[in-house]
């Protein structure tokens, strides 16, 4: 077991593409760290550099208290689970799981008992003599996990290990991997582009974009205290609504709507005090907007409803807010339904608003987020 430290890690690929810029962070011993970010942001690159499968262009990588920049993957004492599982097709499940132990020249009896133990934990005992081609996707995934855990390595690296499974199995395996990791208490780095996976599994989450680390924090902090517009929009689903607004004293003007900001916000973000005509980016999450007809509030806005998605437990109400919409810069964010510029509110299913109405919306003003329009970083 060991912690992992990244110091000013850069990756420039052979074609001069600068994939990672000055990556800096520590992963604590036993921690479950998730790398998350849109496609192409460099998650796999970072993971493969830690694995030793990709060279480090500059910077220093430590595992435990060793600098491992130039150490072979086989000598780094880490196990990896690949997105494609990479099971050895000519070997049985038993041989697949035993392979790393054979390479480590463990005695046969020790290999047998460890393989059987791993198979028991992962419920693979009945499948030990099958070849991978005869397994289901979920079973293959387990074999890949088995091959990683038998070794009792210093760290696990997993690159989107669940992305080939169907939605239901994914949720189930998500829980199993997380609880297995807690039980084994092995430092783990888990790559995903699914922010729900990131939030539910990680002790901490590293959010990346375009090869630059945006924020490393606990899921709670990422949700409550995003450092910039990108993290704010990336974490949470549906995304945070982001608009340009003007703050004057305590009055926030959002398009044709104005309302008062409560004291708490100024305690939380002291540098907003005494604003006069200050341009800001304001962010509010769908869950912090309600139908004012059901839950009135001191901060209300009104906007035309363009679409209502009734999901049973809640209604996603799309609103046409007449302020300048802010693009958070997530290339993967596509409005699955409706206009991406529309604000989305999470109304109680009791709400009776319908498309075409002008809705009165109660905004939970204590939960507003404020960002600088030019640097796009949070205003504290």
């Amino acid at each position: 077991m060991a912690g992992i430290e990244l110091r000013n890690i850069n990756k420039v690929y052979g074609n001069r593409f600068h994939a990672l810029h000055d990556l800096n962070f520590d992963i604590r011993d036993g921690e479950f760290m998730v790398f998350v970010g849109p496609s192409g942001c460099g998650k796999s690159t970072a993971l493969r550099m830690i694995a030793g499968l990709e060279s480090i262009s500059s910077g220093e990588l430590r595992i435990g208290d060793r600098v491992v920049n130039h150490i072979d993957p086989k000598d780094r004492d880490i196990a990896m689970v690949f997105q494609s599982y990479a099971l050895y097709p000519h070997k049985t499940v038993r041989e697949n799981i035993a392979f790393p132990l054979q390479m480590a020249r463990l005695p046969t009896t020790e290999i047998d008992s460890r393989v059987n133990e791993a198979a028991r934990i992962l419920e693979l005992t009945a499948l030990l003599d099958r070849k991978p081609a005869l397994l289901s996707g979920g079973q293959r995934q387990r074999v890949a996990m088995g091959r990683a855990i038998v070794r009792k390595p210093a760290a696990f690296l997993m690159d989107e290990p669940l992305s080939n499974l169907d939605a239901k199995l994914r949720v189930q395996m998500r829980g199993e991997i997380a609880s297995l990791q807690r039980k084994l208490n092995v430092t783990t780095i888990y790559v995903t582009h699914d922010q729900v996976e990131a939030m539910t599994m990680g002790d901490r989450v590293a959010v990346m974009k375009g090869g630059v680390l945006q924020q490393v924090d606990t899921p709670q902090n990422l949700y409550n205290r995003p450092e910039n517009v990108f993290v704010a929009a990336f974490i949470g689903s549906p995304s945070m609504n982001l608009y340009e607004a003007v703050l004057n004293g305590r009055t926030l003007t959002l398009g044709s709507n104005s309302f008062e900001i409560p004291d708490r916000v100024f305690e939380y973000r002291p540098s907003l005090n005494g604003a006069s005509n200050r341009q800001v980016i304001v962010g509010f999450r769908p869950e912090h907007m309600n139908d004012a007809a059901i839950r009135p509030s001191s901060a209300e806005i009104s906007a035309p409803v363009t679409l209502v998605e009734a999901l049973g437990s809640e209604s996603l109400v799309h609103l046409n807010i007449d302020a300048a919409w802010v693009d958070a810069g997530d290339p993967d964010a596509v409005a699955d339904i409706g206009d991406e510029r529309a604000a989305v509110a999470r109304f109680s299913p009791k709400s009776t608003v319908r498309a075409g109405d002008i809705a009165r919306i109660a905004v939970d003003a204590e939960e507003l987020h404020f960002f600088e329009p030019d640097t796009r970083t949070s205003i504290w």
Binding site: G14, A51, G52, L53, D72, P73, K74, I78, A79, M80, F82, Q83, S84, A86, Y88, P89, H90, F99, P100, M103, A104, A133, R147, R151
Partner: protein, 278 residues
């Protein structure tokens, strides 16, 4: 209903086309086979008949009794086996490196291999003759093996490259994470996974050498004459010995057919690579 009829018509067309194709390959061989089992006297009968009037193994007895053909068979086999071994030893690692550690130079390398296949072997024959002569390897097994290997390696290289391209990179990476050096990963994981592809390549390499005529004609005289040369000579040395010639040709084609059937499973496995992923 309408759709089913439509499918039927196109099914008949496809099967018909396949039949024509198969016959166009099979008929000449069938004719060879039929001729070989006619009595020597009937072979040049006019008008020729497709089926033998009487069954006779006279032709086979004759070619097997002569000392030239069995010896040529041994030569052919020796040369083909050694050529296959040498070609694979060169082409398999080279193709692996060229595909897995892709650089501009490795791409160029594969392209070059392709180009050498475009030069007609006639134009390479004379320089090869000079080369082997200066090495004292004319009319020797190693000499012909080298010549055949030079012809077979580009083909083996291209085939193996295609197979390696189809293999997920992660297999080798997983092996390296599991404690292998690059070479161990190649030997313990990559090679066993590629047995199908290697079998296909071995077969094609073997056939290339087994069937090769021109280099064998130029580079051997007595000691290492291969079977294709001897078969061709039935037409010159003994006048027009059609019967013997067809019998020798049938015998010569048998090993290839047997090996192909024996390797059928690997060949199909090698050509349908999906198994690795799934």
């Amino acid at each position: 209903m309408h759709k089913a009829r439509h499918l039927n018509v196109s099914g008949i067309l496809i099967n018909g086309a396949a039949l024509v194709l198969v016959l166009s390959y099979a008929l000449p061989y069938m004719y060879l086979l039929m001729t070989s089992i006619k009595p020597a006297a009937d072979v040049q009968q006019i008008p020729p008949s497709f089926f033998p009037a009487v069954l006779s193994f006279e032709n086979f007895r004759e070619v097997l009794r002569s000392s030239t053909l069995p010896k040529a068979f041994v030569n052919s086999l020796t040369v083909a086996v050694l050529t296959t071994a040498l070609s694979l030893a060169v082409a398999v690692p080279a193709a692996y490196v060229a595909t897995q550690y892709r650089r501009r130079i490795t791409t160029l390398f594969l392209l070059f291999a392709l180009v050498t296949r475009m030069v007609p072997s006639v134009s390479l024959g004379v320089p090869l003759f000079q080369l082997l002569k200066s090495l004292g390897l004319l009319d020797t097994v190693p000499g012909l093996v080298l010549a055949h290997t030079s012809a077979a390696v580009p083909l083996a290289l291209l085939l193996m490259s295609a197979f390696f391209e189809g293999m997920p990179r992660e297999l080798e990476e997983a092996a390296r994470m599991d404690g292998c050096t690059r070479f161990q990963a190649f030997r313990k994981i990559v090679l066993p996974v590629m047995t199908g592809g290697i079998a296909v390549t071995a077969l094609f390499t073997f056939i290339t050498s087994w069937n090769e005529f021109l280099y064998a004609l130029l580079l051997t005289s007595e000691a290492t004459k291969t079977a294709p040369i001897v078969i061709a000579e039935y037409n010159s040395v003994y006048g027009l010995a059609w019967g013997a010639m067809t019998a020798a040709a049938v015998l010569y084609s048998l090993p290839v057919i047997v090996v192909t059937l024996a390797l059928q499973k690997q060949i199909v496995g090698g050509l349908t690579f999906g198994a690795v992923k799934g």
